[in-house]
């Protein structure tokens, strides 16, 4: 494709005095999944709502599939689909009625709309629930019927706003499977999420957003590299050995272990995962017994800590900053 799927320049949205979106620049190529990652209140949903023409920006410009979201809103609307954070279908209607309704609004004839609805219901494993009111659906079924509603007509670009928040693991995997299928069929997806793991699983590129600004962008590998490889959690067999084990690991890994409230556990940041095996081996050579260890990927918290200097939970309260000064 000759143009970018999404291109924004200094996008701003104010809610009263709150700068919900404060100068966002995005350049997202067509094809694949681009993820916008950030905590609650970072401005993810507001960005998506502006791109889907539901909100008019207060500053900057945004082009979606080559069309300006303000001046050519109708053109944008005919080529994108939005699956909002909450089930955006009519809960009082049945699943089938909701899809027929959408199909009619997209211009299908009465009969074609019914056919399209039943085709989508079986594609999304919802045949049995077709005649049930959406309010009786489980969380996973809601997400599926919601996504089905977004592909009544095949969109060139689909916005998925936190598609798996609150879902059980099985439903989450189904949604991921559907997202991969959509991408495989050529739809570009912009997905917002609070979970690094989700972005990691699905996204080709990730924009990390906080306080209405993009604070980092890259592939998941690049982002992780920026915060180190992760951390290793270690438990010792005998709590009285913990201090000695911590000292040895600190030497080998060149990082200071964080002792946990569990008297036999500690966590150490590691930059090079391949060094962990050697470090643990050295602990064994000193006759100390490690009962458990696990190498973890960096969490969103760690990405945030590295990028902003404070964990996401405390970002709303600047007075907390002083408390975050952790001795290195």
């Amino acid at each position: 494709m000759d143009h970018l799927a999404i291109e924004t320049d200094g996008l701003v949205k104010l809610f009263g005095r709150n700068r919900a979106v404060d100068g966002v620049d995005l350049a997202i190529a067509s094809g694949g999944v681009h993820s916008v990652l950030g905590p609650n209140g970072a401005g993810k949903t507001t960005v998506i709502r502006m791109l889907a023409t539901l909100l008019v920006p207060d500053g900057g410009t945004a082009r979606v599939l080559g069309h300006d979201v303000v001046d050519e809103a109708a053109e944008v609307r005919s080529r994108v689909a939005l699956t909002g954070q909450f089930a955006s279908l009519d809960e009082d209607l049945t699943g089938a009625e909701n899809l027929v309704l959408l199909a009619r609004l997209y211009g299908y004839s009465r009969r074609a709309a019914r056919e399209r609805a039943s085709e989508l219901l079986s594609a999304f494993d919802l045949d049995d629930a077709a005649a049930k009111q959406v309010k009786a659906y489980s969380g996973g079924m809601r997400r599926r019927i919601d996504i089905a509603g977004s592909i009544v007509v095949r969109p060139d670009l689909m916005f998925l706003d936190e598609p798996t928040t609150g879902l059980d693991p099985r439903s989450r995997n189904q949604v991921w499977e559907i997202v991969r299928a959509l991408v495989g069929a050529g739809t570009t997806i912009l997905l917002t999420t609070q979970y690094l793991e989700e972005a990691d699983q699905l996204a080709d590129r990730i924009s990390v957003i906080d306080h209405g600004r993009v604070i980092a962008e890259g592939t998941s590998g690049q982002l992780k590299a920026s915060v180190g490889a992760g951390s290793v959690k270690v438990r010792v067999a005998d709590p009285s050995d913990r201090d000695e084990v911590a000292r040895l690991l600190a030497e080998s890994l060149d990082a200071s272990p964080v002792l946990e409230s569990d008297a036999s556990a500690m966590t150490i940041r590691v930059d090079d995962p391949s060094a962990v095996a050697g470090a643990l081996h050295r602990v064994g050579e000193h006759g100390l017994v490690v009962s458990e260890y696990a190498l973890g990927q960096p969490s969103l918290d760690e990405v945030f800590l590295a990028l902003t200097g404070k964990p996401p939970a405390d970002r709303t309260d600047p007075t907390d900053r002083a408390d975050q000064e952790v001795p290195a």
């Binding site: 939005l82 009082d92 085709e119 007509v153 299928a181 495989g184």
Partner: protein
């Protein structure tokens, strides 16, 4: 993508993945829905909601019956000497009051849609933008008709006879619908602006009670103090009731009807564009 369908082996059921891809592949883009079709589709949605949530018809059916019986037998004797005589005076007013009260559900419906997220989905569709509102108004019109029929049936059952005949009654209901249609735009603005359905209900009650009671719906204004009469005389509900009463009594003055029609046109002309503007820019 070519138009070839994804082929799947018939012995094993296709995976979710393959079925979704197949369903995507066959998604052709039909021509855009016309304004009429999209409005009627939203009207159909309103009918489906009545079918699935019949409770919402409770107000439409119970209030009119309650009002008709209560006012006739409680106030009738005191105001007009006998319930029968009062019914002849008050029924057109009860009809107006009942339906005007129901108009607030326009605001409730749109507010609930916003709260539930349906609104976002609909606004991101490539449809003629006012069709959600127009379709909702179509559904409301059906509700108004049902309520009107009930009031008239109950009234007739307890002895009301329209001197203006069926023709007069039909014209009075038609005038009532025209008035309520214009009022609906005001409710839409309220429904778009307020935060919760409860807030809508609260404001609606505060507006509707004085508007319908401080009018000539239940009693002739001649007995009221002068300052109150001054309000009653300019209250749009009074104008509507007088016009409807004239039509149903068969002694209609064309000027009364004209005033209501002009009022409805002006209200629609002013508030429909405002409602549409808020609708388009709603954050």
């Amino acid at each position: 993508m070519s138009t070839d369908q994804q082929t799947v082996p018939d012995r094993t059921p296709p995976s979710l993945d393959a079925r979704v891809v197949a369903a995507l592949g066959s998604a052709q883009r039909p021509p855009r829905a016309s304004a009429l079709v999209s409005s009627l589709t939203f009207g159909w949605r309103a009918l489906l909601k009545i079918k699935h949530v019949p409770e919402q018809l409770f107000d439409v059916t119970m209030f009119p019956i309650m009002f008709t019986l209560m006012f006739t037998f409680v106030f009738g004797g005191a105001v007009s000497g006998s319930p029968g005589e009062y019914l002849q005076y008050a029924l057109p007013g009860i009809l107006v009051q009942t339906v005007v009260f129901i108009t607030m559900y326009t605001a409730m419906t749109i507010n609930t849609d916003i709260e539930k997220g349906v609104f976002d989905r609909i606004r991101s569709l490539p449809v003629w933008r006012p069709s959600l509102l127009v379709g909702a108004l179509l559904g409301d019109t059906l509700r108004y008709l049902m309520a009107s029929s009930i009031v008239l049936l109950v009234g007739t059952a307890i002895g009301y006879r329209a001197p203006g005949g069926l023709g007069g009654v039909v014209l009075a209901v038609a005038l009532l619908l025209v008035f309520c249609f214009s009022l609906s735009w005001l409710w839409l603005i309220l429904g778009l602006k307020l935060r919760t359905p409860n807030a809508v209900m609260g404001v609606a009650m505060m507006v509707l009670f004085p508007l319908t009671f401080v009018s000539s719906v239940f009693a002739p204004p001649e007995t009221m103090p002068g300052w109150l009469q001054a309000f009653v005389d300019v209250n749009p509900v009074t104008l509507l009731v007088e016009a409807a009463r004239g039509l149903m009594n068969g002694d209609s003055r064309p000027g009364d009807v004209l005033v209501v029609v002009v009022l409805a046109v002006v209200v629609t002309g002013v508030f429909a564009p405002i409602a549409m503007r808020i609708y388009n820019r709603k954050s």
